[in-house]
Amino acid sequence: MLSLSSESSLGDVFVANRAQLLHVARRIVRTADLADDVVQEAYLRIADGACGRQIDKPMGYCCQVVRNLALDHCRRQSLEATYRTFDVDVETLDVPGPASPDRMMRDRQVVGMIEKALAALSPRTRVAFQLYRLEGLTQRDIAAHMGCALGLVNRLIAEADEAIGAMRHLMND
């Protein structure tokens, strides 16, 4: 089966480049242990078929998944630290932890639906979104790369975010 072989090859690429992917995570999160956790979660998602189709640049996609999961870990940790300054223990709040395997399957469907919504946007909006969220460039770098004004990049990214934010119904479990 074609889909099966492409999924396993993405997993193979991940395993073969694990050291480099750890490095990608380590540049974002604070400790080596955390980087390890991030890479492990990324592997689970990728082995599970984080997206259901063939990927042109498998290593690029592996880096993208690691980077975005690392950013999410970081965001959650910073938030937890701020909660503590309020003398609030996050454990006692209804803030859920990392994704469970059940949720990962649902997540994969949501990723496919977001992909469809993005495909309906103009090419330059998709380019801006891709460079910002998928390749991790700053808006300033994107302006240089696209040869346009920073204000336009800001608007294009806002447009893509608007389209994604409109998909909140996908988050109702």
């Binding site: 998602r45 984080a50 997206c51 189709r53 990927i55 042109d56 640049k57 690029g60 996609y61 993208q64 998944v65 980077r67 975005n68 999961l69 950013l71 999410d72 970081c74 965001r75 959650r76 910073s78 938030l79 701020t82 909660y83 300054t85 309020f86 609030v88 709040l93 209804d94 803030v95 859920p96 997540d107 949501v110 990723v111 977001i114 992909e115 993005l118 495909a119 090419p123 330059r124 998709r126 380019v127 891709q130 460079l131 969220r133 998928l134 700053t138 790369h145 696209m146 040869g147 346009c148 004004a149 336009l152 975010d161 994604i164 934010g165 998909m167 909140r168 996908l170 988050m171 109702n172």
Partner: protein, 88 residues
Amino acid sequence: MAQEQDDLIWRTAWDWVRREHDRENFGERARVELVTWLLADPAHREAHDKAARLWLLAGLVPPTIDVDAWKKSQGQTAPEDTEPGRDA
């Protein structure tokens, strides 16, 4: 009315998640403001959690466009959205 309230909470949560992603410009003061908002209502926390998950999943979408090919195609047409020329 309830729907309007829900929409407002979602928009606020989504906006927070967008801002959190811009790490250079999201410092301790903003985070304190965010946590104050989160602690004000469980509905805020629920919306923020959903928004953060949706945000993460959007980051897992595989590339849908070839950026280099797009750039080349731009070279062939006049740029329409660059800053107006200084001598205009």
